[in-house]
Each structure stands twice: as C-alpha cells, then as structure tokens.
C-alpha cells in the first residue's frame, strides 16, 4: 500500500533524527566529550581559560587568526566563550570529533575562509565578534589596530601597517564603526598600494579613509 507523501516525509524526518542519534551519534558524543574537556562545569560554556587550553592543545596562539576562523565557523556570538551548541555546530561542520582531527581541519578551514566569497563575511564577523556591550556599535582604536593585524595582516601587510600608524597618531576618531571597518576592506581590495591612483575622495569612501589617504600623500611628498 502506498503511504501518503506527507506521512512518508514525516517518516524520513524521523529516520534522519534517528541517524543523528544512532549512526553519527557516536560522533556527536565524542564532540560533546571534547566540549566537556574544556568547558567550565558550572556555566557549561568554554570560557577564556578553556579557550586558552584549547589553543595550546591545537598548538596555535590564542591571537591567531585561525581561532577567530573557528569562532566564525561556529557562529560564536560572545567573544572568548563557546556554547555547547556553537561547539557542536562548528566541529560537526569540520567533521572533527577529536583534538587531532580538529588540528588537521584548521588548514582546510583557513582555505575556506580566505575564499573571496567568504572572506568579506568573515571580516564583518570579526568586527561584530568584538562588540562586547549590548547596543555597542563601534570599537576603540586600540582594539581595531589589533584586530586589523590579526585579520588582514598576512594578506595586506603594508596597508595595515600604514593604517594602524595613522589611527594611532590622529585625533579625529576615537572609535571605528562597522561602515568604516568594511570601508578599509574595500580599500585594500580595490585600491593599489602605495600609489593609490584610483582613489577618489569625491566618492563615498568613509571620511576616515579620505584623511588616511591625504596623510599618506603628505608623508610621501
């Protein structure tokens, strides 16, 4: 007898969840087990201490961009903390249920993030990740400088160095907002450096970049 399509759908759903529980439930168990190794038992979160431990086990510095990439993969919301759900999400996507597998998955993760289609999203995520207060919309200069170094340092060394130097000596801006943050990314991708011939301050580049370009031109003169 033919079952109704709705009924069969339901059934397949339950089959999947069963699989989740049964087939790769072993994987999930191991993931959870790994989680518990780093998590704080009272809060059931991996807190900054746990993150440090994790980093040392992964043999990466906790300021390494790959930790940030991991957070991105997990879609982690709060800087310095991983919830169980986030942990599950990230490690399942990476197919890593042991610390070694996780370590091995990092290069692949990096390649994935650095793909043009993903990197802009990652870049924006990095900014949001640093917004610690509720309703906070901008980040202080010092943190920005560090963040720039981590996120863009390897690909756009020169631009980052100059921009960081500029941010430190100027007085107009005490914080950077998301629009300005993204503006810098577009700047690195669209404008050749250090000649910056394509840069046109009459277009909609954020004002901070206009001042930045002006400052560089004066330096070079």
């Amino acid at each position: 007898m033919r079952r109704s399509s709705a009924a069969s759908k339901k059934k397949s759903d339950s089959v999947t969840t069963d699989l989740f529980r049964s087939g790769s439930s072993k994987e999930m168990d191991r993931i959870d087990h790994l989680f518990n190794q780093y998590a704080n038992t009272s809060s059931n979160l991996i807190d900054p201490e746990g993150v440090e431990q994790l980093c040392s086990n992964l043999e990466v510095s906790h300021t390494d961009i790959r930790i940030l990439m991991l957070a991105w993969k997990m879609k982690a919301e709060k800087q310095g903390y991983f919830t169980q759900e986030e942990w599950r999400r990230g490690l399942k996507a990476l197919r890593a249920d042991t610390i070694n597998k996780l370590k091995k998955a990092l290069p692949e993760l990096e390649k994935e993030v650095r793909r043009q289609t993903n990197f802009a999203d990652f870049y924006a995520y990095a900014f949001r990740y640093c917004l610690t207060e509720e309703k906070q919309k901008s980040i202080d200069i010092e943190t920005i400088c560090q963040l720039l170094d981590i996120v863009m340092g390897s690909t756009f060394r020169a631009q980052v160095d100059y921009f960081v130097e500029y941010l430190k000596i100027q007085n107009d801006y005490k914080v950077i907002n998301m629009d300005q943050w993204m503006g810098f990314y577009r700047f690195c991708n669209e404008i050749s450096f250090p000649d910056m011939t394509e840069y046109n301050p009459e277009l909609a580049w954020p004002l901070v970049l206009d001042s930045f370009v002006e400052w560089i031109s004066e330096k070079q003169a």
Binding site: S138, D179, Q180, M182, R186, E202, A204, P206, L207, D210
Partner: protein
C-alpha cells in the same frame, strides 16, 4: 481703320523696322523726352495687331514673336555692347548705365508695339513675356560680357568712398540694379558676380584698418572709429547696395573690428575696460555696450572685464580693512560694510545705465561681490560684520540719526548685500542676538518701524522661516506691554510696595540665556514675583516661567546723608544694595552666602558699586579689584549733582562669536541630516556624488555646506540605520524605510 488687304509678313516687317530705327535714333539723340510720333505708333501697333488676327496662313503671331526676339537681340549685341566695351573705369559704368536706361525705354516702347502679343498670344502659348525675353537678351549679350569689369570698377569706387572720396551714388545704384535684374527673378547674379567680391574686399579692407587702429588708438578712439565704420556701411547699403547685403556687411565689420580684437581692445592698459570704469567714462562704456550687444556672445568678454574690475575693487577694500585690523584699528571693520554698500550702489548704476540693465551684467556684479563678500576680516566673518553694521545703524541717535528715507535705502542695501553672503544662517544668528539686546536693554530707543522694515525685507528675500524668530521677538515685546497693562490693572496694591513691570519672552524665539532662579531675592521682590506668577497663571494655561534676573533693571532710592538720589541699576546690583538695608557692613563671604550669586557675577557687581565711577559702597581695602576677603560698607556720604544716576555694569565677557559659531554649526548638522534624509526618502536610491550635490544645492539658500561635513553626516546616518550602502556598489546609497 479697316484694311481689306492682308498684310504680308515681309511688308509688315519693313514697317516695323522703320519704327525701330526711328526709336533708336530718338534714343541716341537723348532729348529730354523719348516720344514716338503718335501716328507712327498707332500704325505700328495696328500693323502688328492685324498681322496677328489675320486668318491662317497669314496669322504671323509666332513669327512676330521671333521677330521681337531678334530685334532686342540685335539691339543689345550690335548697339549696346560695342558702346560699353569701348569704355573703361568710371566711363564704363556711365556708358553701361546710360545704355541700360536706353535699353529699358527701347523695350518699353517695343512692348507697346507688340502689346497684342503680350495680351493674347503669349499667355496662350505660355511663352516667356516680352520683358523676360528682353532681359534675357540683355543679360546674355551685354551683362555677361561686361560684368567682371563693371564689378571691379564698382568695388574700386567703393574703396575710394571708404577712404573719404565723394562718388556718384546714383550711378552705382543704377549699375548694381543691372546685376540684380540680371538674376531674372533671383538674387543670384548680384550675389555671385558682385556681392561675394565686395564682401571679400570689405574683409581685407577692415583687416588692414583694424591692425593699424588697434596699435595707434586708445580703446575709446577705436570704438568711435568702429561705430563710424558701421554707420557708414549701413548708409552705403541704403544709398546704392541691395538691402540683403546689409546684414552680411555688418557681420563682417563687427567680426573684424570688434570680435577678433576684443581681448586686445578691452584689456588695453590705459584705456581699456578697467581704465574706463576707473575714470567713470560712462559714454565710452555705453558705446562699448552698444557695439558688442548685437554680436552673439559679444558681451561676455565685456561682462567678464566688469566682473574682474569690481572684484578687484572689493578685494582692495577688504585688504584695507584687514591691514588696519592687523595694526590694531578696528574702526575700519565697522566702516567696511558701509563702504561695500557704497561700492555696490556705484556699480549698480553702471549696470543700469551703461549696460542697460542686461542680465549678464547683473550676474557679473553678483559674482564679483560673492568673491569678496565672503572673506574674513580680523577673525569676523562678513555675516558678523553686517550684523554689527545693522546694530550700529539701529542704535544711531542724535546727530547721527538718518532720515526715514535714508534709513529705508540703507536697509534695502543691507538686504541686497546679504544675498551675496553665503553664510546667511550666521548672519541671522548674530542679528538675533543683537536684536535681543536692543529690544531688552534699549527698548525706549528702539524704532519699531525701522526694525520691522528690516525684518519684512529680509522675509521677502529669504522666506518666512528665516525671519520667524525675529518676528516672534518683536511681537513678544508688543504682547508683553499689553500683558503688563492687564497685570497693572489687576493689582489693588503694589506688591512689596514696588512698581513691577514684567516682560515675558517666548523661549523659542529668543537666544538662550542662563536663568538665575537660585538668586535669593529680598522679601519685597519675592512678593512681586509671586504676584505676577499668580496673575500669569490665571491668564495662561500650563506655562512655566523662568525668571531672568540677570536682564532686569531696578530703580532704587539711595537715602544718602547729603540728599537722596535715585539709582538706576541692574537687578543684581539692586539686590546686593538691598542687603545693606539691614546692616551697615558686610563681608564678601556674607554677601555671596546670602544671595547665592555666582562668584563671577558678584565680582562684577561689586566692582561697579565700589571701584568704578560712583562709590555707592566703600571697600576695605580700597584696592581696584575685588577679593574674597574684602569688606563692604554703605557709603552714606555719597552724593552727586544729579538727582538720578545710572550705575552701569559691564556685561559678562562671553565669547559671543564662539557661541554663535557653535550654535550655527549644530543647526547646520541638523539641517544637513534632514536634507539628506529628505532627498533619500524621495529618491530611494542615489549615488554618493549626486546626493552630495543635491544636498549642497538645497542648502545653498542658507549656507555653503562643507563637503566633509556632509560626508560625516551621511556616515552618521548609516550608523543610525537611515541609509545603507548598496550591496553591489558601495558608492550608492539606499534609503532604509
């Protein structure tokens, strides 16, 4: 006469030829009148008539038509042409003219003879008319042969005339008529065989003249010569040229004499445009306008020269004031506005008179003024200077007072000047602050008509929103007076024994002032305040009064030993003095504790009462400044010859300019925000540059927005989620609903 016999063609021709010869003879004799003997005429006419109406085969119309053609051909070829070809130069023209006149008469008479053909045969066959045939023959046999030579002679004569010689204009007119007629209904022959060459010659003639004149003559002299030349050429046309030549001739002369040398001419060192303006040579300037006006775009270089000159004059005034200010004299800055107004009036006269109110010159004047009217002098923007000027204008009294007419004229000029200033909002702010001071502190000197006139005129030029606060302030004063009447009427007794007058101001209209409700008033004054408060409460609904004691005045009777004197004081001063009603001596500390005044305010008050012109209080120690350890005592010995004295107190040293600039900056930020949102709301999607340029345009009525500020506001609006960048092109913005 009826003839029974048929006229044979040859027979008829003989008769005809006889008549023609007779005609030719008469013409050669050139008697005053050319007349054929009427009998002969009639015979000829009838002969031809009969030959035409005879029945076939004796109907000779066609042969007669051909005969006519032969006759005119023959005359042209054998008589006219040889006579003309024998002559040269002017004689050629004379002969040609003479022969042409003869020919016309000849043809006229022939047409009379052959009239029957003209009326019946020719229209029937649709042949060319007798006149046409004759003209064609003349053209082919005579005109084409001699036209080149004739043309050369004519042009040579014209050149001679241009050099001043007298020539026979009738002759030329007649000869040129031949050219026109030879076109057979079109103007082609005249144009191609004559006019073309004339224009060429004219061009080289004037080119020679121009290069000589431009070297030798001053600008006015050159212009006079040009004007003369144009006049002469136009006269030439009326005298003997065809009317269609006029526009072409004029264009050539204008082009060579005026257009190609325009720059050289206008910029001539000692006599060019700027020199003429400098020396007020209105005639020459009017001439310049007259000459360049008919030329397309001809006035542009003149307007340019005018603009540059006026801008230079204005800049010189500014520099003068700036230099004087740098040397410490601030008077120049105050006089500057008056001088600029005078400059404007002076050059407006030129625009209206010499330049006939032409828009190009109005524009040039405006642009020139916009250049220097926005420069700063000694740190003050022009907006501030003009506001100061208005303030002094309205405060004038006594001998300095202007008549009503003069005042109105000056107000008009100020309003016009405002049009050139880009920071109109700064002007309005300064003006408002000073207006407030005038209304509050000098209200008995205020001339309401003048103040309202200025505001009305500003309103007309800038719109109601610009002047709404000012109007509100003036109305407030009026309302306050009426309200005061009502208040007075409601009182059965003087509260606290004091005559109280209150002016209620509408916060929205007036500049912001610090309130002083913390001040501890003497009991009598408190009664006053309460009395007014309750009256006000009965008359209005839910309004809060904030008392500005800092702006009030008090009349106090000082009971000094020699004699009582009425003191006109600020409320603060009065309040301090009233403390001495209860005790003879007070320390600084006691005063400040009892009154709750700020230290800065109290120091000013005590200075005015103890160290200045009038010593109402004695101070220990008797130094020139106030210290917190000083002790004050009522000076019972104080006296003056007058019965009433005003004890002035210097106003607090606020940096008014800084505050105005800050306030205006803040307002501008709101205005830019509102403008951006308004534009984006209607356009929904807009590229950055267009948004900026539209913003600038919309705000230009009030001020010139800084591009950087606009960019900053856009970024701020992005953060506040009013706009966002387009996902595909981050130089385009989308409105966020």
């Amino acid at each position: 006469m009826y003839r029974a016999t048929i006229i044979d063609f040859e027979q008829g021709c003989k008769c005809l030829e006889a008549g023609v010869s007779e005609l030719k003879r008469i013409l050669e004799e050139e008697t005053s009148e050319t007349r054929i003997d009427p009998k002969q005429y009639l015979e000829l006419y009838t002969t031809i008539y009969n030959m035409c109406i005879q029945k076939h085969p004796h109907d000779h119309s066609q042969r007669l038509y051909n005969k006519y053609h032969d006759i005119v051909e023959h005359y042209a070829k054998k008589t006219v042409l040889p006579c003309v070809q024998q002559k040269h130069d002017e004689y050629l023209l004379r002969e040609l003219s003479r022969r042409w006149d003869h020919y016309k008469v000849f043809v006229k008479w022939l047409s009379h003879f052959f009239n029957y053909l003209e009326r019946f045969f020719i229209p029937q066959r649709n042949y060319p008319s007798l006149l046409e045939v004759a003209m064609k023959s003349f053209r082919n046999r005579v005109y084409l042969e001699v036209q080149v030579n004739a043309k050369d002679v004519v042009i040579a004569l014209i050149d001679k005339e241009r050099e001043g010689a007298q020539i026979d204009m009738e002759l030329l007119k007649n000869v040129l008529d031949i050219f026109v007629q030879s076109g057979m209904g079109t103007i082609e022959r005249y144009k191609e065989d004559f006019e073309m060459f004339l224009l060429e010659e004219t061009e080289s003639y004037y080119a020679r003249k121009a290069s000589r004149w431009i070297q030798e003559c001053s600008c006015p002299e050159y212009m006079i010569k040009s004007e003369e030349s144009l006049k002469k050429e136009k006269e030439r046309v009326t005298h003997y040229l065809h009317s269609s030549t006029e526009s072409k001739l004029v264009e050539i002369v204008q082009d060579i004499l005026l257009v190609s040398v325009a720059k050289h001419l206008l910029e001539k060192e000692h006599s060019g445009c700027s020199a003429l303006l400098r020396d007020d040579k209105t005639d020459d300037l009017s001439r310049m306008y007259r000459l360049y006006h008919p030329i397309p775009k001809g006035l542009e270089p003149v307007a340019d020269a005018f603009r540059i000159y006026v801008a230079r004059e204005g800049n010189a005034l500014i520099k003068q004031a700036q230099d004087a200010a740098a040397n410490g004299s601030l008077v120049e800055a105050q006089v500057l506005v008056g001088k600029i107004i005078d400059l404007h009036e002076k050059y407006m006269v030129y625009v209206m008179d010499c330049f006939k109110n032409h828009t190009l010159f109005h524009k040039a004047l405006k642009e020139a003024f916009e250049v220097f009217c926005n420069k700063k002098v000694a740190g003050s923007s022009s907006a501030e200077l003009v506001a100061n000027f208005c303030d002094s204008l309205f405060k004038k009294s006594g001998n300095d007072k202007l008549s009503d007419e003069a005042m109105e004229a000056t107000i008009d000029n100020v309003v016009k000047l405002l049009d050139y200033i880009s920071d109109k909002d700064i002007f309005s702010e300064f003006y408002r602050k000073k207006l407030a001071r005038r209304l509050l502190f000098d209200h008995h000197k205020v001339n309401k008509e003048h103040e309202t006139s200025m505001i009305t005129k500003l309103k007309r030029q800038q719109g109601g929103q610009y002047t709404s606060k000012m109007e509100g302030m003036v109305t407030d004063m009026q309302l306050a007076k009426e309200f005061q009447k009502g208040f007075k009427g409601s009182l059965t007794a003087k509260p606290g024994g004091i005559d109280l007058a209150v002016t209620v101001l509408n916060t929205g209209f007036w500049p912001s002032y610090k309130t002083s409700t913390d001040l501890n008033l003497p009991r009598e004054m408190v009664e006053c305040v309460e009395a007014f408060k309750s009256y006000y409460g009965t008359k209005t609904n839910q309004r809060k009064l904030r008392w500005l004691y800092s702006h009030g005045t008090c009349h106090v009777i000082g009971s000094f030993d020699p004699k009582p004197i009425e003191l006109v004081l600020s409320t603060y001063q009065a309040v301090v003095l009233c403390l001495f009603n209860n005790t003879e001596r007070l320390t600084y500390q006691e005063i400040i504790e009892q009154l709750n005044l700020s230290h800065e305010d109290l120091v000013r008050v005590l200075l005015s009462l103890s160290c200045a012109k009038y010593r109402i209080l004695n101070k220990e120690p008797a130094s020139k400044s106030i210290s917190t350890t000083d002790v004050f005592e009522f000076n019972s010995k104080f006296t003056s010859t007058m019965r009433r004295i005003k004890v002035s107190i210097p106003p607090p040293p606020i940096d008014e300019r800084k505050k105005v600039v800050e306030d205006v900056d803040q307002d501008r930020r709101y205005a830019i925000d509102a403008c951006i949102v308004r534009i984006m709301k209607s356009r929904k999607v807009l590229p950055h540059q267009q948004l900026v340029s539209q913003c600038v345009e919309q705000l230009s009525r009030m001020f010139k927005p800084d591009i950087k500020m606009i960019k900053k506001r856009i970024e701020d609006l992005i953060t506040r989620d009013y706009l966002k960048r387009d996902a595909k092109n981050h130089h385009i913005f989308n409105y966020v609903a």
